[in-house]
């Protein structure tokens, strides 16, 4: 009797171990809490310092407007300059919660505030407020894991987050899909307090960088309140841990 029991236990142990060996990542990932998932997302997507070259493709009633820019990013602060002929020299400076714009033709500096903050940056579906959001998502929202879904042929965690009190964020609620293996956001839905979806960001392409860090390099932003509205952001070049010269991201440099 006992002999048989020992055999059964041994088999069960073996099977459990085999199962553990077969799906180690799977089980490990599924056991992660929402907080841990978001921390891993932030590790990938939050740029401590970097230099980025990007393209913004605005689709407006059948027309396609392409804008090119490069940015220096240092945590919460950044300096971006447009390089396409039409907007060449137009610069944006973000210092914490403030945003300035420099118009080269007028040689004029404008602080963006009030209703302008809600408007699309350079006519795109990214508002200036969206551009200001550069903190780690885990610091802004309290996320809960809702489940796992397949999105763009990838397994993803589905998380919903409510804005943390005392954090200055534009959207009360976020629903995000995080790639289970790469810990990068694949889709981000932005909701109002009344539960209406305001915007949707769909990541179309990811890239693995040298350090093994995955980062979205092509994403499409849709303003859900407007018809026929779509902006694609393409990252052409991205250097993490870029050594930004001192004073580069400053008001003096902007002018």
């Amino acid at each position: 009797m006992f002999k048989n029991l020992n055999v059964y236990l041994l088999i069960a142990l073996f099977l459990s171990f085999a199962l553990l060996l077969c799906f180690p990542l799977h089980i490990a990932a599924e056991e992660l809490s929402a907080e841990e998932i978001m921390q891993r997302v932030d590790e990938n997507e939050y740029i401590e310092s970097g230099r980025m070259e990007a393209q913004m493709i605005i689709e407006d009633r059948g027309r396609e407007i392409v804008k090119e820019m490069f940015s220096f990013i240092e945590g919460h602060n950044s300096l971006s300059e447009f390089t396409n002929p039409r907007d060449r020299g137009t610069r944006y400076l973000k210092l914490d919660d403030d945003l300035w714009m420099y118009f080269p033709d007028a040689e004029d500096l404008v602080r963006i505030s009030g209703h302008m903050m809600r408007e699309g940056m350079m006519g795109s579906d990214f508002s200036y407020e969206d551009a200001l959001e550069s903190q780690r998502l885990s610091e802004l929202y309290d996320f809960e894991l809702e489940g796992i879904e397949e999105i763009n042929s990838r397994e993803a965690f589905v998380l919903s987050g409510l804005a943390l009190e005392d954090e200055d964020v534009s959207y009360y609620e976020r629903k995000i899909w995080v790639d289970k293996e790469r810990f990068v956001i694949l889709r981000d839905e932005y909701y109002s307090t009344g539960g209406r979806m305001i915007k949707e960001l769909d990541v179309k392409e990811l890239k693995e960088f040298e350090s093994g860090r995955w980062f979205p390099v092509r994403a499409v932003m849709n303003d859900k309140l407007k018809a026929e509205s779509q902006t694609t952001l393409k990252v052409l070049e991205l250097e993490f841990d870029y050594d930004i010269p001192e004073g580069k991201i400053s008001l003096e440099e902007l002018q």
Partner: protein, 414 residues
């Protein structure tokens, strides 16, 4: 009396010159009276439009609310408050009170189709709002909003910009009190066409009960209390009294004039312009008077000599010339006031339409509709006295020049 009669006789002797000079002065008087009437009319129309569609006679809000608006910031929802019933009762008791309404003003982005546009949303209680404002009288299409309606009333320019009609869908995107994005959506219920371009362009009226839930403010919260009194003059007086009453509180009381700083500045510039033009015309008149006195003196050199030989003193001769000039002034002022009065009568009675004269939207001023002139007794009195004074002053120096002529030389000057 003798000198007066002599001066009058001299004026009659040179009727043509007297008439021409009086006509020049009358032109100045007419120009001033009509310009003044136009200015008062324009200001009446502009302030009237402000009172009927933007800020009524008196507005009460938290001090910080006004401070942020003055800094060109958006209406701050965190300054919303719940009015005390006792205070409301007190306001209803003030002399000349006609109506009171409470509103919640907030900034939003109006979205329809592919387009969006920044607007000011005024969340209102229909009944009390209608008693204070006149938007409902300018409804061009559809209906006015009522409690429970998710629809909004928009201005005709906004409707044209978005190519919207009654029943079309809209979305308003805004920040609630906690600074999160929120939305209001529904159908366009009414389109208004008011004489206030700002209202036609960028004001959206929404039902208060619908907006409150989305703004994250308490149910009875408001941002401004708005009062309509019997008339504007009373309003200015009461606003001062109420301001003194509220001085020790967190609230501020503003009259329609306080809320229209730009108009008040334009009014001041307008009057400055009127007086500048008046000064120019009167300068021409004064030169004419000097000329008239000099000519008159040259023509009457022998007469002056004779008068001096007969014992008339220099001072008395000066008086004759000054009275003559004053006489021309009186005739000019009377003629100008009379003709100006007739022209102003038609201006006051019939006015003229400003449509097509300029684009009020481009001007950004509440100056559209029909412009009427205005009667101002003080303006008539002022210009009448002023013209006489100017003519008298202008004649003094040439009169002395004439009076100082040597009697012997004067008689034998030929």
């Amino acid at each position: 009396m003798f000198l007066f009669k002599l001066a009058l006789k001299n004026l009659k002797r040179r009727k043509k010159r007297t008439f021409i000079m009086a006509l020049i002065l009358a032109t100045a008087v007419i120009s001033f009276l009509l310009l003044d009437s136009l200015m008062i009319g324009m200001m009446d129309l502009s302030f009237g439009n402000v009172i009927d569609f933007e800020t009524p006679h008196i507005e009460i809000a938290q001090k910080e609310f006004f401070a942020e608006i003055d800094d060109d910031e958006e209406p701050p929802l965190e300054q919303a408050f719940i009015p005390e019933q006792s205070k409301l009762a007190e306001l209803r008791e003030i002399e000349g009170f006609r109506a009171l309404t409470s509103v919640i003003d907030f900034s939003a982005t109006f979205i329809a189709g592919r387009y969006d546009f920044p607007v000011l949303v005024r969340a209102i209680d229909e009944e009390s709002f209608k008693a204070v404002f006149k938007h409902h009288e300018h409804l061009e299409k559809g209906e006015f909003i009522s409690a429970g309606d998710s629809g909004v009333v928009i201005g005709k320019d906004l409707a044209e910009f978005f190519n919207l009609d009654i029943g079309d869908y809209y979305t308003l995107r805004f920040r609630d009190k906690d600074n999160y994005y929120s939305t209001l959506e529904g159908e366009i219920k009414g389109i208004i066409s008011t004489p206030h371009p700002e209202v036609n362009q960028r004001t959206v009226l929404a039902a208060r009960d619908q907006a409150v839930g989305r703004l994250a403010v308490a149910e009875n919260s408001i941002t401004q209390l708005m009062l309509r009194l019997e008339n504007r003059d009373q309003a200015l007086n009461k606003a001062d009294l109420l301001a003194a009453d509220f001085a020790e509180t967190d609230f501020e009381v503003r009259s329609y004039r306080d809320a229209s700083e730009m108009l008040v500045a334009i009014e001041a510039w307008g009057y400055l312009e009127t007086y500048f033009i008046l000064a120019l015309i009167l300068l021409v008149g004064a030169i004419g008077i000097v000329n008239a006195v000099v000519l008159s003196a040259l023509e009457r050199v022998e007469e002056i000599g004779m008068m001096k030989a007969m014992g008339l003193k220099e001072k008395e001769i000066v008086k004759v010339f000054v009275i003559e000039a004053g006489g021309i002034g009186v005739v000019g002022a009377l003629l100008g006031s009379f003709l100006g009065g007739i022209l102003n009568f038609f201006f006051v009675k019939y006015g003229f339409s400003l449509e097509g004269l300029w684009n009020p939207e481009a001007l950004g001023l509440p100056l559209s509709g029909r412009l009427y002139g205005s009667w101002s007794l003080s303006s008539f009195s002022f210009i009448f006295i002023f013209v006489i004074i100017i003519t008298v002053i202008a004649s003094i120096i040439p009169a002395y020049w004439a009076a100082r002529k040597d009697p012997a030389d004067a008689i034998h000057h030929k």
